[in-house]
Symmetry: C2
C-alpha cells in the first residue's frame, strides 16, 4: 500500500527556474530511491518555504527516505522541517482521481 | 499553473473502509469544485490524524476551496488544521514524474 510523505521547510531560495537548475541532478537521483513512485516539488517564494509531496510504495521506504533526506537537508542548513507520513485511503482517493500509479 | 493544497488535522476516526463509506458522497462532490484536479486522501489511525493532498488549477481556486472546506471541517468540530498552499516547480516535478494532468 502506497504512503504519502509530505515535507516543507523555510528556505531563502533559489526558487523557480534557478531552483530547477540547482536541483535537477538531485531530482534525477531521487528517482533511484527504493520504493519511490513520484514527487511534486513545492515552493512559495512569498513565504520563503519549499518542500515536496512524495509517494512511496511502503511506509518503510518512506521512513528510510525521510531519514536520509533529513540529514541531507541538515547539510544545507535546513533543520526545522514539517514532516508527516500518511497512509492513503485508496477508495476515497480513487473517487477523486488521485494518481497512485 | 497548478497549486498544491495540503491539509491535515486531528481526527478520532472513522478510518479505512468506514471512512470511505462515511465520506464517499463528499468525495464525489469535491470533483465538482471549481479548479479541482485531484485529491489524495490521507489517514493515520495510529496518530489520529487525517487530511488530503489536493491539486487545483490556480492559487485562487485553491484558496476558495480552503475557505469553504475550513468551515465544513469546523462543522465536524475540527478547527485546528495544518494547511499550506504551494506553487509547484514544474521542471523538477516533471523529472520526478509528479502527476499534474
Amino acid at each position: 500500500m502506497a504512503y504519502v510523505l509530505q515535507i516543507d521547510f523555510k528556505m531563502l531560495g533559489p526558487f523557480g527556474d534557478e531552483m530547477a537548475e540547482a536541483f535537477s541532478d538531485l531530482a534525477k537521483s531521487i528517482n533511484e530511491e527504493e520504493g519511490f513512485m513520484w514527487k511534486i516539488w513545492t515552493e512559495s517564494p512569498e513565504t520563503n518555504e519549499a518542500g515536496g509531496i512524495y509517494i512511496f510504495e511502503t511506509k518503510e521506504t518512506a521512513e528510510k527516505y525521510l531519514d536520509m533526506h533529513s540529514k541531507r537537508l541538515a547539510g544545507f542548513g535546513i533543520t526545522d522541517i514539517n514532516v508527516k507520513i500518511f497512509a492513503i485511503n485508496e477508495q476515497l482517493t480513487k473517487i477523486t482521481h488521485g494518481p497512485l500509479n
